[in-house]
Symmetry: C2
Subunit: 200 residues, 2 copies
């Protein structure tokens, strides 16, 4: 493998990874996660992760956006891949910045495209299981990431109201620097107001 040095390219103002052999600049930029809170009859769709990080914990259908798609197309693709659900997207529910990970999350509010009282869903290859949960039945202690709490709270706060300004990070983690579990055991993790949450 070629060696990459970390230095400031000409005309730039910050260090980049530069190939010592050919001068190629390997820019590292934040990645976009697209996902959705998919609701049906007051219940929300959650997926239990079959992959690391946080294997076995519950998350929204969401994942890295791919080149060549729009944010909405990416969210729909993730709902299909992880929960085998075709979704109808309402609009943007939240935009979160997770500066710790170099990540921006665009989370949509959505419903099942199928007009059915009992719409189909199933675990895709990256999920162990998939379920529709009433608010009080959400497995709060087993939620995978802080931003899942944030998105669920934003969805709950909105109720049946039309979408408005997207939710952002909670004030006590405005830059997205905290992990679940960085608070003392028994305390509610910062920014997480969901009932029943215990710090992991």
């Amino acid at each position: 493998m070629p060696q990459f040095d970390r230095r400031v390219p000409e005309g730039d103002n910050r260090e980049r990874l530069i190939c010592a052999e050919c001068g190629f600049v390997a820019y590292e930029n934040p990645k976009i996660v697209v996902g959705s809170v998919v609701a049906h009859d007051g219940r929300v769709l959650l997926c239990r992760r079959a992959i690391e990080p946080r294997r076995g914990f519950w998350t929204l259908p969401a994942g890295y956006m791919e080149n060549g798609e729009t944010v909405a197309e990416g969210a729909a693709r993730e709902a299909w891949e992880e929960a085998q659900v075709r979704i109808a997207i309402d609009g943007i529910l939240a935009v979160f910045s997770i500066s710790r990970l170099g990540q921006v999350q665009v989370i949509f509010r959505a419903r099942f495209a199928a007009d059915s009282a009992d719409p189909p869903y199933a675990a895709g290859p990256e999920s162990l299981e998939v379920g529709l949960f009433a608010w009080d039945d959400i497995p709060w202690p087993e939620i995978a990431f802080p931003s899942v709490h944030w998105a669920l709270n934003a969805w709950r706060d909105l109720g049946d109201a039309p979408l408005g300004v997207p939710a952002g990070n909670p004030p006590d983690d405005a830059r997205g620097t905290q992990r679940l579990g960085e608070t003392a055991p028994g305390l509610t993790a910062p920014g997480l107001t969901a009932p029943g949450l215990t710090a992991l």
Copy 2:
């Protein structure tokens, strides 16, 4: 330089660039552009580009988000770098997907942080010049990108109203696949409703 092959890694479902020597997977994901419509006294701040692409054309202060910052911090940094302006951010005005370029744009509504009738601004290293333009004085034929039109129109449509649901792509370019100039000469480019626009 090592050779990168394009094939589907194990457990994935699409082709990636993979180093033939060591198996390193070089994921290519969309990049995030952060920027803002900075208004003062009904006029908007535009920068004439000193760099390619579209050198010499006018754009919003905007650029690629960097790791370790939030979307709002990135937009504020770009306003400083390109127009030497400290901004106060109101909130998200628009989220655009430019699937042609693998790009998501998060555009804020902002004002000058300085509480002054005549706030300072100046061309940064990536700008030839910077100006505040009344709507009718915007150099429409010399706008750099379709999304600058979209953002300015979203700003104009909103007027003094509070921010709501972010604007998205216009319906006639919902996936962000069109360039300026892909319509016949003399016609208004698709999705561009600004006055005086001629296709480039």
